[in-house]
């Protein structure tokens, strides 16, 4: 059995980050865009915890806890704003949210 090293975790994190980024850029449903952003933050967490384990240093794990808190706060505010928008204009499609354009 080959061992799972830090490099594997960093690759996984990079893959997750790319999936999240592609999701934000290509998906049109704002809830899915919000989920893609959560993926990016989870990529950050995997990175932090993997580095923390490799370096035997706890501050990375502490950072990861704060990132989780931030992700929760962001989701709360984000869903609140989506609900406010949905009440006025019944859509969650980013292409139809086009009142302002230059």
């Amino acid at each position: 059995m080959p061992e799972i090293t830090t490099a594997h975790y960093v690759m996984l994190s990079a893959a997750l980050f790319s999936i999240g980024t592609i999701g934000v850029l290509t998906r049109r449903n704002v809830v899915i865009i919000l989920m893609s952003i959560e993926l990016i933050l989870n990529a950050v967490n995997i990175n932090l915890v993997a580095f923390s384990n490799q370096l035997m240093n706890m501050s990375g794990q502490a950072f990861a806890v704060f990132v989780i808190v931030d992700a929760a706060a962001e989701a709360a505010v984000g869903l609140g704003i989506i609900i406010a928008l949905f009440r006025n204009k019944e859509t969650v499609n980013a292409d139809e949210i086009d009142l302002m354009k230059w």
Binding site: V30, L41, A50, F63, F66, E74, I82, A84, L85, L99
Partner: protein
């Protein structure tokens, strides 16, 4: 106390703690206020800002008396230096002005809730910690506290579709950029094994030049930061957020959070990434030219004043990035003084737009300003002063910021950049004067008088007075800004 906390930690955070307490206090007292007395929330918030200002002043004079340049707290996670104090003043002033102009505006919009002022104070807390932070965790949390507060403020007009839409766009792109920034931070942590900016700076300096991991980290962090300051190609959220947000909030976020993000950008580029200057400098030059170009050219064709000022804010971000391109003492002094001046002139311009708001008129189209000179000469003349200052015409204050930044470019031999920047000032003059032409040359569409609330009177008075005062008598302000420079340049 004990091994984890010392009295110094408490002292450094005193202004911030006071603001937080007052923010919570506003939310609690709001429960007992009826609709006619909601303005008391604004008064409470202003008292909180005044208390924080007094504490900041005490700390500043104590530091000056003892001759210390900086105080470290929480084992180096927070550093209160002159740079942080200078920017904290900008945040306190801009929050106070934003609260003054918000009172009447929110009454007209019928969304006068106490949370508005509480969230504004929390945003101020985030901004102040952001400029003090010396640790990735502290910086990230402070940044998120600031931007999450501003998302809520942007969408504060719940029943207004434009406000909803602005908040959503701002939130999605802002959260995306925070994610990218955090990814860059995680790589910095992985390379150095510490979240302290100084330790990161040392371990990055020890790495070989052109290390791909360093390049990825720089790219991610730069992309995240450029998003926050609204630099091209990450500016798309900015015009929409500025146009849709309540005008009082637009005034606030065009100054406070922008200055905080920029101070954060300076801290990141100069301290942890300082040794990789060769790598990020070409990137920064390209971004600042693109930012000035797009901001100035797109502003020409705008018909909405808030959107026009949003594009002008993008172009100002371009000029400010030039200060970092030259990166010498004059450049940093230029950035510092630019933000002080920008606080007054930009908030003043938005305050005039707020004054135009009535029940049946939004007042943010250029056409709404038609004949303002005949309807209300005071507002027209004040707007003229702010626009002249934004364009950078002496003797107004706006000239000063641009002067130092252009001077620093010439000092460091970036002559071409200086020439481009000056040419764009001419373009800027054109679109600012479109507003002036409408105000002074066109006939007014209606004769309804403007009414100034006491809050707007004070805000306009202070901003106009400071715009002219700094322009005519810049010496003390230049010295104050100059004293902050040494603590940021390593």
């Amino acid at each position: 106390m004990n091994e984890y906390f010392s009295p110094i930690d408490f002292l450094v955070l005193k202004p911030v703690i006071l603001l937080t307490l007052f923010g919570i206090g506003v939310m609690l007292t709001d429960l007992f206020l009826d609709q006619q007395h909601k303005y008391m929330n604004a008064v409470t918030a202003l008292v909180g800002l005044a208390f924080a200002a007094v504490q900041l002043w005490l700390i500043q004079s104590e530091m000056a008396a003892q001759g210390v340049a900086q105080i470290e707290a929480f084992r180096g996670a927070v550093v209160l230096d002159r740079f942080a104090i200078y920017f904290s003043w900008i945040f306190l002033i801009s929050s106070a002005i934003a609260i003054l102009i918000a009172i009447r505006y929110l009454e007209i919009e019928q969304e006068h809730h106490g949370e508005h002022y509480a969230i504004m104070l929390f945003a101020a807390v985030g901004m102040m910690v952001l400029v003090m932070g010396m640790d990735l965790v502290t910086l990230f949390i402070a940044l998120e506290l600031m931007v999450l507060s501003v998302y809520i403020l942007t969408g504060f007009l719940r029943r207004d579709r434009r406000s909803n839409e602005a908040a959503l766009k701002y939130l999605l792109l802002g959260a995306f950029s925070s994610g990218i920034l955090a990814y860059g931070m995680s790589l910095l942590y992985g390379m150095s094994g510490s979240t302290n900016l100084n330790v990161i700076a040392d371990s990055l300096a020890a790495r070989p030049a052109g290390d791909p991991l360093v390049l990825i980290a720089i790219t991610a962090i730069a992309a995240g930061l450029f998003f926050k300051v609204g630099a091209v190609p990450f500016h798309q959220w900015l015009p929409d957020a500025y146009e849709g947000a309540p005008t009082s909030v637009t005034a606030f976020m065009s100054v406070g959070p922008k200055a905080a993000s920029f101070a954060f950008l300076l801290r990141m580029f100069l301290v942890p990434l300082g040794s990789a200057r060769e790598e990020w400098l070409p990137l920064l030059v390209g971004v600042s030219i693109a930012t000035m170009t797009l901001g100035n050219l797109a502003a020409i064709s705008q018909s909405n004043v808030k959107r026009l000022l949003a594009y002008s804010a993008i172009s100002h971000a371009g000029y400010l990035l030039l200060g970092l391109v030259s990166g010498n003492e004059t450049g940093m002094k230029g950035i510092a003084i630019y933000f002080l001046v920008y606080t007054f002139m930009n908030m003043g311009a938005f305050a005039v737009i707020v004054a135009l708001r009535r029940r049946d008129l939004i007042g943010d189209e250029i056409d709404d300003m038609a004949g303002l000179m005949y309807k209300c000469p005071t507002a027209a003349v004040l707007m003229l002063i702010f626009l002249l200052s934004l364009a950078g015409i002496p003797p107004t204050a706006g000239f000063l910021g641009k002067y130092f930044i252009f001077l620093s470019l010439i000092e460091t031999g970036h002559i071409t950049l200086a020439v481009i920047a000056v040419l764009y000032v001419a373009v800027a003059l054109y679109y600012y004067f479109r507003i002036v032409a409408v105000m002074f040359m066109r006939e007014p569409v209606d004769q309804e008088k403007l009414s100034f609330s006491p809050g707007i009177r004070i805000a306009l008075g202070v901003t106009a007075a400071m715009t002219i005062l700094i322009g005519l008598y810049p010496e003390p302000f230049i010295q104050f800004a100059g004293s902050t420079v040494l603590s940021i340049l390593r």
